[in-house]
């Protein structure tokens, strides 16, 4: 137990330093632009945690973010770069709302059905990318991103065409789902809904996934495709399955947002959650429990960032800047490690550290995505 605690404390330092540096640099940027960074950050903090209502709002945003990031973490662990969270989220939401509006079934049956539909919707959308990756070696970064744009237009077409609410005064939105299907609000006067519980269950689910055979295989495929192949793992099959699960989770995030917050389809429902979830997953080092923490943190950043723009006139884009910087600093931590190891080597000349350094170098090479060629 003590060791786990020590490890998690050790694990939390690099992302913390990265975020701190990102905030510092963001502050410097504001300083140059003539904005007082302390005022801006205070406003951001108040916006995220200033009252019970604000905290609830932050959690509401954290729910889809955490689920999306869980999905992304599964794909990234296998070194499949699924950046199509937005599209899979959208298609999952479309499937779920479509089922909810179409079938006249009792709610007790219909609600689980919408849940399954969301998973399948997301999974199929991401599955396209997984399939063409496995079959044709089409770069999944590009295909998943393209599928994001296609899903965006698909949704726009649906809410302005076939699925438009006929009583909606021409607003681009679908009909509302019936009240019995909506996730109950947990805290009176806020939007905090039962989806939180779903997210917790999914976190545990993904935690268990990494302890299952399939999770283990997925990890091996991510570490080294050739080794995986030699040890009898069907790499292409794992790629498709991984992508399927990853995207299915994204679909569930869409379900959560539909049944917990909006209760209907609107334009651009994913609103950039997908990109943010990538940052969340990376800063958590793809660890499910870490994702909860970093998901909550970035949800706070977004909630607070909106307040900051409204109150202090600091552009919300600053939040994006901080995200980008945070990733850059996290992946740069090897520099620190190298520098530290060099120091150790010159101080006491034992060869083992030198070996460690060169071995870590080799690992980087075999791990690189080029091995999927």
């Amino acid at each position: 137990m003590k060791k786990i605690l020590q490890d998690s404390i050790k694990g939390i330092i690099p992302p913390l330093v990265a975020i701190l540096l990102a905030f510092l640099l963001g502050g410097l940027l504001m300083k140059i632009a003539g904005i007082n960074p302390i005022v801006a950050y205070t406003s951001l903090f108040k916006g995220a945690f200033g009252s019970n209502h604000r905290i609830a709002e932050t959690i509401v945003r954290a729910i889809p973010l955490i689920i999306l990031a869980l999905g992304i973490s599964i794909a990234f662990k296998a070194r499949i770069w699924n950046i199509g969270g937005d599209g899979q989220f959208t298609v999952g939401a479309i499937f779920a709302v479509f089922v909810a509006l179409t079938f006249p079934l009792p709610n007790a049956i219909l609600l689980p059905l919408t849940f399954i539909a969301a998973f399948i919707g997301g999974a199929c959308w991401g599955g396209i990318a997984g399939f063409v990756k496995a079959k044709f070696n089409a770069n999944e970064v590009i295909t998943t991103l393209m599928l994001n744009y296609i899903a965006f237009y698909l949704l726009e077409w649906l809410v302005k065409g076939p699925m438009m609410d006929s009583n909606g005064h021409g607003f681009p939105q679908s009909e509302l789902i019936n009240e019995g299907l909506r996730l109950p609000v947990l805290l009176q006067g806020t939007r905090l809904h039962l989806g939180l519980l779903v997210a917790v269950v999914l976190v545990i689910g993904v935690y268990m996934f990494w302890r299952s055979t399939l999770g283990f295989k997925t990890e091996i495929v991510g570490q080294n495709r050739e080794v995986a192949q030699y040890s009898g793992i069907k790499v292409n099959k794992i790629i498709v399955i991984t992508m399927f699960i990853s995207a299915g989770l994204a679909g569930l995030a869409g379900w959560n947002e539909m049944f917990g917050v909006h209760y209907r389809l609107l334009e651009n429902i994913s609103g950039g959650y997908g990109n943010l979830a990538i940052v969340v997953a990376l800063l958590a080092d793809l660890n499910p429990l870490g994702i909860v923490v970093s998901g909550f943190f970035f949800a706070a950043l977004v909630t607070g960032g909106n307040t900051m723009q409204r109150m202090e006139g600091v552009p919300f884009a600053l939040v994006d800047v901080i995200q980008g910087l945070a990733i850059i600093f996290v992946i740069s931590r090897v520099v620190y490690r190298r520098w530290r190891d060099n120091g150790a080597r010159t101080n006491n000349d034992n060869g083992i550290l030198g070996k460690l350094v060169s071995r870590s170098g080799k690992n980087e090479r075999t791990n690189s995505p080029a091995s999927n060629r």
Partner: protein, 294 residues
Amino acid sequence: MSVPILLPAIGEIFTQRSGILNLGLEGVILMGALGGFVGTYYSGSLWVGVMLAVAFGMLFSVIMAVLSVTIRANQVIAGLALTILGAGLSTFLFRIIFGIKKLPPSIEPFQAIKIPVLSEIPILGPVLFQHNILVYLTFVLVIVSAIVLEKTTFGLKVRAVGEHPQAADSKGINVYLIRYICVIIGGAFAGLGGAFLSIGYMNTFLDQMSAGRGFIAVAVVIFARWNPYRALGGAFVFGLASALQLRLQAVGVPIPHQFLLALPYILTILVLISVSKKAEFPKAFTLPYNRGER
């Protein structure tokens, strides 16, 4: 319409030939678009805008070069970081400079130049010879790039570094330097592509105005098998898809216009499916080089 895809694609050919995958083109294009607009707005000269766009693109891509060459970070993640940072930073700076709520300011963009006689040719004339000067410049750059890559010592060094960095190093080629140069060349081209968006095709800067073109450009590079002339062909197809979409919309074809807008993205996936299996990537593609390691 092909140009904002073609320019980044040409630059990316240099980058990838040297063994680096820059997936952050999207961010670089946006920074270039911002630079082009700001430069033009404050100097009143479109060419100052172009130069600032190229400078922004080069400076911004230095981050990618440091991450991929010196730090040897995972290039996919580095590219994503650059995309997110570029989108955020360009929007942030634009809002800081021009305010949050005001109507977007605009400039007088590059005007189309009709080349006498040639532009009179039916069909081909309007397609090829009635563009603004950036388009003609792009054609020149395609040819120059092809010559540099295939016929010069520098081009040979780039290819050597991308195929076999160890061998290149043993011949006295500075692998790190070549890769830095290639990533920065890529940044210059992407920056210019961004300038084309903000001061050639439109007359202002818009958030996310690159709309995925950075990623489409990478697809074009694979389609072109790292050859600038074939990239010209590939980008032209995308330009055609965009033009077709506008034309069909104008005519009023009974296809939902969202479908037409999605067309370039669908096309990208189809292109990737058809070419990826056969594509021969540079041997050392996405492999960081470490001199101390054998």
